[in-house]
Amino acid sequence: MPKIKAPVKNPHIDMTPMVDLFSLLLTFFMLTTSFRPQEAAVVDSPSSVSEKQAPDKNIMTILIDSSGRVFLNMDNGKDTTRHVRAEMLQDMAGKFKNYNLKFTRKELTDFSKLGSFGSHLDTIKRWIDASTGAQRQKFQTGMPLYDTVNNEFKYWIYFALTRNPDADVAIKADGNTDYKKVKKIIDILQDNKVNKFNLVTNLQKQEVTLKDIPKDAGK
């Protein structure tokens, strides 16, 4: 009997379960990713070998871009019962009575949810009320701090640390910022009894072993 060869069919794998699984995984990741709030300015941090993680809760971040503009970002506190940002804003309104700032409840809640900010007190209401991100960005001009008359930054820090004394302080400055501007920020923070700073950097490992010690190591 001649052997009947069954015709070889190309196997078609049914992809439906695979696509199904992919959709599930994708939905999971889409829901669990929390996007970072838009930062006020693009900052290119310098690199260091430090591998320590930044604390993600209860932290105050000071952003300094390459031209020296300063922005402040503050957490709302250790847990959801604290409303540090809203309290800070009202303290500033109370201190600078000449601007005559009055915030509605909605403005206070909006402010609590926003990210880093840096504008003169007279434009801050318009910043909070801006409807789109692009419009909001127009008001981010950086905080005034370099002239002693209008040193709003000093008061923001003072009220932030009064309302939340155990917050960590992080400084995220661009590599090309003049050091003297960063030093000014550090001086203001030291005036407010902060002596421990977290400088935000990118990780770049360096391998240094005993072989790197120069052979003629004397004095």
Partner: protein
Amino acid sequence: MAEIIQDEKGKKGGKRRPKKHSTRIDMTPMVDLMCLLITFFMLTTAFSKPKVMVITMPEKNKENKKDDNQVKIPEFRTVNVILSGKDQIYYYNGLADPKKPLPNIVKSNFSKDGIRKVLLARNKDLFTRIVNYRDSIITGKSKIFIYTDETKKPVFAREGKKVFKSTDEGGSWSQIPAGNPPPAEDVSMAQIISMNAQLSELVVQIDKEKKKILKREALPSEVNGIVDAATKGMKREDHKGPIVLIKADEKAKYRDVVNIIDEMAICNIASYAIVDISPIEMQMLNNAAK
């Protein structure tokens, strides 16, 4: 050719079958896109944690601005590093006293052969000790034991003669300074407790609450914290290494300061501080730049 024409004619003449649309959709491009999207989301969730470098500044005191108020540091240990802009880094040894001849100022850079070589040469002993210590822990030559109470909460740790206690923030340790050093290498817990006052206090506390002390080997995740604490302890006890004073002038950028503090960590420098630049040094810089 005639045959072909005939064939076509034949086909036309035959039954007209409507074209059957295949109901099979090729899923490959869709799976491809899904794959890409998932990879994107998997990677972006990992990106959000930035790293930090911790620096501690000495407290400012505004009242006394006299130089005499500064703590006396031995001149032979001092290395002054002056930053003056992109890759402009100078250093000199000792102190610059206007009444005495000025020390020699040397230009350097941030490469491997620059300031790092200078600092490694000055800090040879401490650097070697720290590297050897880390190696001995990683290769397992020295073991770390963790002592916990009944609730498995770690209370203190021991590595050879060094004792550490865990701090309130989970995962951090600090070394308890030794009392009288024990006579032999191989010491029992009882001997260490009898010689280390702080440790015996801890043990007494646990004893009072009628809790037992359990001993176990350290997990890899705890080893890093303990090695860091030991390194800090070694730096604190060092009295021979260089004291680096970092000064930045008007032209220095933030990146330069971060780089030099990084070099401090790489070369395991025990003590360094960021201080203000003095007029004499500005003059020395001007002379050196020529």
